[in-house]
C-alpha cells in the first residue's frame, strides 16, 4: 500500500528536477537564455490567452448554469446534459473542425466558391475553439454549487423582503464564488496545457513552442521552457488558492432539498434563453460533428500510408484501458493510505498527486522522455513509460470521483465490521467497498475517456509506429488530409464522447 501510494507521488516531484537537470546540460546555458524579451512575450501571450479563454468561458457558463438550475427553462435536465458534452470533445477535434470548415480549401470556402478566407489562425481561432469546448469546466462546478446551496438562505432573504431574483443575487451568488474560482482555475489550466488546438491553429503558446524546440532537437531549450511553464502553472494554482482562502461553506447541513432549490420564472425571457442554449450547443457540438461527417462523406485526398482505422482504435483502446486500470489501483491505494492517518504526512501522496493535474501533458511527457532516454533507455518509447505519464496526468480525475464517495461513508461502518470479526482489509472490502464500486468504476471510465483522447504525451512517448486516433488525426490535419482526418475525428467521438455521454446521463440520473 505505501509503495503504491508513494511511487506515483515521487514521480510527480521528480519531474521538475529532471527538467532542471536536462536544461542545465549541453553547451549552451538554456536556463540563462530564458531571460529574454522573447520569453517574456511568450509568458504574457500564454497568460493572456488563458485569461481570454477563461473570460469567454465564464460569460457562457455562468448564465447557462443559472438557467439550467434556478429557472423554469423548458427541458432543464436535457440542457444540463447536452451542454456538458463539449467537454468530451478533444481540443484538436475542435481545431480540426475550424480548419476544415473555414480553412483554405475548407467547407465554407468551397460552398461560397471563394479562395480567400478571413484568417482565423492564431489567437482568435485558438480562443474560440477552447472557449467553446472548455466552458463546461466552469459550467459544471457552478451548476453543482447552485444545486447544493441551502435553500433556507434564500428563503430567509425572501422573508426579509427580497424578490426571488434579489434573494438569489444577495445570498446565493456570493456563495457560488468558490465554485466559480475553481472553474476558472480548471479552464485556465486547460488553456495553458492545451497542445492540440494551439499547435494546429498555429498559436505560439508555451506548449507549441516547447514542442517545436523539442522537435528541432533543442532539448535543453525545451526543458528550460517546460520548467518555466511549470512555474507559471504553479503561480496560477497559488493565485486560485489565495482567491479562495476565505471559503464560505455553502453546503447545507440538511443537504440539498429533494426537488432542488426554488425556481425563478423566466416569463418572456424563455425564448431568448432557449435560443442561447441552442446556439451554444450548436456551435460546440453540432458544428464539429457535422463538419466531420461532411468531410468523412465527401472524402477529400486519400492517404496511402495511413494506418487502418481498426488498428488505430485498437491502439487507442489499449493505451486507455491500461491507464484506467492502473489509475483504479493507485487511487484506492492512495486514498486508503491517506484515510488511515488522521491528517499529517500520510495525506501527502494524495496532495502531491493533485499537482499532476496542473502539469501540462507535454511537460510530463518531456520529463519522462529525458528520464527514459538518459537513465533507462530500455523504457524509452515503451508502453509502460507512456502509461506512467498518462497516469500522472489523469489520476486526479479518478481521485476526484472516488474521494467524495469515500468521505460520505462513516468510519463506523468499517469499525462495525471490525467488531463483528473482520480484519482491516476484509472490513474494507465487505463494509465500504460495495458502496464505492460505482464511483470507483466511474473514475476508471473517466480516466479511460480522457486517456483515449490525450495527444501530446502520446505523441512524444508512444512506441514507434504505435499510432493512435489522436496522433493520426494530428498528422493528417497538419498535412491537409481533411477527409481521412474526419473519419479519425468521428472514431474518437465514438470511443471517447459517446461513453462520456452515457456516463454523464447516468450520473445525472443517480443524482436525481
Amino acid at each position: 500500500m505505501p509503495v503504491a501510494a508513494w511511487l506515483p507521488a515521487l514521480l510527480v516531484l521528480v519531474i521538475p528536477a529532471w527538467l532542471f537537470l536536462r536544461a542545465s546540460q549541453g553547451q549552451a546555458d538554456a536556463l540563462g537564455q530564458l531571460f529574454t524579451g522573447e520569453t517574456f512575450d511568450l509568458v504574457l501571450r500564454s497568460l493572456g490567452f488563458a485569461a481570454a479563454v477563461a473570460f469567454g468561458a465564464v460569460l457562457i457558463a455562468v448564465p447557462l448554469a443559472f438557467l439550467t438550475t434556478r429557472t423554469d427553462l423548458p427541458g432543464r435536465r436535457f440542457w444540463a446534459v447536452v451542454l456538458a458534452l463539449p467537454l468530451a470533445l478533444p481540443s484538436y477535434v475542435g481545431a480540426f473542425t475550424l480548419i476544415a470548415a473555414f480553412g483554405h480549401g475548407g467547407l465554407i470556402a468551397d460552398l461560397l466558391g471563394v479562395q480567400e478566407m478571413p484568417d482565423f489562425y492564431g489567437f482568435w481561432g485558438a480562443t474560440i475553439a477552447l472557449v467553446l469546448l472548455g466552458y463546461p469546466y466552469v459550467f459544471l462546478p457552478v451548476r453543482a454549487a447552485l444545486l447544493q446551496v441551502d435553500p433556507t438562505l434564500e428563503e430567509s432573504a425572501r422573508v426579509l423582503g427580497r424578490s426571488p431574483l434579489g434573494a438569489f443575487t444577495s445570498t446565493t451568488l456570493p456563495l457560488i464564488r468558490p465554485a466559480l474560482v475553481a472553474g476558472v482555475l480548471l479552464i485556465a489550466l486547460y488553456a495553458l496545457s492545451d497542445f492540440g488546438a494551439v499547435s494546429m491553429l498555429q498559436f505560439d503558446t508555451f506548449t507549441r513552442v516547447i514542442y517545436t524546440q523539442h522537435d528541432s532537437f533543442d532539448r535543453p531549450g525545451a526543458a528550460a521552457l517546460s520548467l518555466l511553464l511549470v512555474v507559471v502553472t504553479i503561480g496560477v494554482v497559488l493565485l486560485e488558492l489565495w482567491m479562495r482562502r476565505r471559503r464560505a461553506s455553502l453546503a447545507s447541513r440538511r443537504g440539498p432539498r429533494p426537488g432542488g432549490p426554488p425556481l425563478i420564472a423566466l416569463g418572456a425571457w424563455k425564448v431568448p434563453a432557449l435560443l442561447f442554449c441552442t446556439l451554444i450547443a450548436t456551435l460546440a457540438l453540432i458544428v464539429p460533428v457535422g463538419v466531420a461527417i461532411f468531410w468523412a462523406k465527401s472524402g477529400g485526398n486519400t492517404c496511402e500510408y495511413c494506418a487502418p482505422l481498426g488498428e488505430l482504435v485498437g491502439h487507442t483502446v489499449t493505451i486507455a484501458t491500461y491507464t484506467a486500470l492502473a489509475a483504479m489501483v493507485v487511487v484506492v491505494a492512495v486514498a486508503r493510505y491517506a484515510s488511515r492517518g488522521a491528517g499529517g504526512w500520510r495525506a501527502l501522496p494524495d496532495r502531491i498527486l493533485y499537482l499532476g493535474f496542473a502539469l501540462p501533458g507535454i511537460v510530463i511527457a518531456l520529463a519522462l522522455v529525458f528520464f527514459g532516454s538518459q537513465t533507462m533507455p530500455s523504457l524509452y518509447q515503451t508502453m509502460p513509460l507512456l502509461i506512467v505519464a498518462l497516469l500522472i496526468r489523469f489520476l486526479p480525475q479518478a481521485a476526484d470521483t472516488l474521494r467524495p464517495a469515500m468521505e460520505r461513508i462513516p468510519a463506523s461502518l468499517e469499525e462495525s465490521a471490525r467488531t463483528l470479526g473482520d480484519g482491516p482489509v476484509r472490513a474494507f472490502f465487505r463494509a465500504s467497498a460495495p458502496l464505492l464500486v460505482v464511483s470507483w468504476l466511474a473514475g476508471g471510465v473517466m480516466v479511460f475517456l480522457t486517456a483515449a483522447k490525450e495527444l501530446p504525451a502520446t505523441l512524444l512517448m508512444r512506441p514507434t509506429g504505435y499510432d493512435t486516433l489522436a496522433t493520426e488525426l494530428w498528422d493528417l490535419t497538419n498535412e491537409g488530409y481533411f477527409g481521412e482526418a474526419a473519419t479519425r475525428s468521428l472514431a474518437i467521438i465514438a470511443v471517447g464522447v459517446v461513453p462520456m455521454v452515457l456516463l454523464v446521463v447516468w450520473t445525472e440520473r443517480r443524482r436525481a
Partner: protein, 350 residues
C-alpha cells in the same frame, strides 16, 4: 471465570496529538453488569468505549476482557478478535445489505447451515421477526436501532458496547425503548457498557454509573448513590440539576437559611446540594427562606420555578401546577427532603 472481572481497565491514558483525552482511567465491570459512562461531551467517554472495542490503542495502561489482556504495552488484540459487540450512535447499518444480511455479517465463523436459524433467533429476540428482507433505509429509527443491536448480539459477544444508544431517537420514544432495552439486556445477562450524556438514560438503565469529567472517572456507583451522594460539585452537575445554598457545617450537621440538616461534607463555610425536588414552596404556616420568583414554567403535572434567594440565584424549585405563582412574586422556599444531604467546601472556583 471466577475472580476475573468481565472488563478490567487500569490506568489508561490516551492523547490525540497534544490533546489528552483520557488521563488515567480505572474501571472494573463484573459479568452481567450494565454500566453507564456518563459525562458531558468531550469528557472522553466515547474514547474509552472505543478503547474497549479495540478501535483505539491506549497510550498507557491495561485493558483486560474476561481476565485476558487485550491491550497493554506491546500487546494489542485487534477488534475482530475481542468478541465484543458494538452498537454505534448512527447504528452503522450496511445500507446495501438487507436486515438479515446485516445481522449475519458477523457470523462468518458459524457454519453456513446454522446462520439462518441464528439470524431468525436474534431478530425474534429484538422483536424484528419478519423484517429480514427489508433494507435499513426502509426502517424507522427505533427499528434500525434494534437491528444494530441484533447484529451486535448475533455472534454472541462476551461484552456489549453501546455508544449513545438513544440519541438518534425521538424524545417521546426514548423512555419506552430504554425500558425495553434494559429488560432485554438483563434477560440476556450480557455485560454491557454504554455511553451517554443523558442523566435519565444513565440513572434509569444502568446498574452502576461511572461519571466521567475531564478524562477521568470521577465517581462510580449505583444510580442512587451518584445522584444522592456525589463526591464533588462537578459530579453532582453531571448527574442532575444542582442548587447550591450557602451554609455552615460542623460535624455531620449543616445550617442554612432553610434550616439545619444532617449529612456529610467538609467543615466550615460550605455550599449544600439541594436537588430541585428537595425544594418546594412553603405551606401556610411553614417557615422558610424568602425568595423572589424570576421565571415560571408550566409543565402540566407540575410547574418549575427559578427563584433568587439571597445570595443564591437561579435556584430551581418545583411546585404544584395549580399554585398561583407568577414571575415577580415573593415566596417562601422550604426544604422537602428528610434524607441526609451532601455539601462541598464553599468558594472553590470551578
Amino acid at each position: 471465570m471466577s475472580g476475573a472481572s468481565a472488563i478490567q481497565v487500569q490506568a489508561i491514558t490516551k492523547s490525540f496529538g497534544s490533546t489528552r483525552v483520557l488521563g488515567g482511567v480505572d474501571l472494573e465491570v463484573s459479568g452481567g453488569e450494565i454500566i453507564a459512562l456518563l459525562g458531558p461531551s468531550g469528557c472522553g467517554k466515547t474514547t474509552l468505549l472505543r478503547l474497549l472495542a479495540g478501535l483505539e490503542r491506549p497510550d498507557e495502561g491495561r485493558v483486560a476482557l474476561d481476565g485476558a489482556v487485550v491491550a497493554e504495552g506491546g500487546t494489542f488484540v485487534a477488534p475482530e478478535r475481542r468478541g465484543v459487540g458494538l452498537v454505534f450512535q448512527d447504528y452503522a447499518l450496511f445500507p446495501q445489505r438487507t436486515v438479515g444480511d446485516n445481522v449475519a455479517f458477523g457470523l462468518r465463523r458459524l457454519p453456513k447451515s446454522e446462520r439462518p436459524a441464528r439470524v431468525a433467533a436474534v431478530l425474534e429476540r429484538v422483536d424484528m421477526t419478519g423484517y429480514g428482507d427489508r433494507y435499513p433505509h426502509e426502517l424507522s429509527g427505533g427499528q434500525q436501532q434494534r437491528v444494530a443491536l441484533a447484529r451486535a448480539l448475533a455472534p454472541k459477544p462476551g461484552v456489549l458496547l453501546l455508544d449513545e444508544p438513544f440519541s438518534n431517537l425521538d424524545a417521546g420514544l426514548r423512555r419506552r425503548l430504554r425500558m425495553q432495552l434494559g429488560a432485554l439486556l438483563r434477560d440476556l445477562g450480557i455485560t454491557t457498557v454504554f455511553v451517554t450524556h443523558d442523566q435519565d438514560e444513565a440513572l434509569g438503565l444502568a446498574d452502576r454509573v461511572a461519571v466521567m469529567v475531564g478524562g477521568v472517572i470521577a465517581q462510580v456507583g449505583p444510580p442512587g448513590e451518584v445522584y444522592e451522594r456525589p463526591m464533588s460539585e462537578a459530579v453532582a452537575r453531571v448527574v442532575g440539576e444542582v442548587n447550591l445554598i450557602a451554609g455552615s457545617a460542623r460535624g455531620g450537621t449543616v445550617t442554612t437559611a432553610l434550616g439545619t440538616f444532617q449529612g456529610a461534607g467538609p467543615e466550615g463555610a460550605v455550599e449544600v446540594l439541594f436537588r430541585p425536588e428537595h425544594l418546594g414552596v412553603c405551606a401556610p404556616g411553614e417557615e422558610g427562606a424568602r425568595a423572589i420568583v424570576s421565571a415560571r414554567e408550566y409543565l402540566g403535572r407540575e410547574a418549575h420555578l427559578l427563584v433568587d434567594c439571597g445570595e443564591s440565584r437561579d435556584l430551581a424549585v418545583r411546585c404544584e401546577a395549580a399554585a398561583e405563582i407568577a414571575a415577580g412574586d415573593t415566596i417562601a422556599v422550604c426544604s422537602r427532603t428528610s434524607s441526609p444531604l451532601v455539601w462541598f467546601a464553599a468558594g472553590r472556583v470551578e
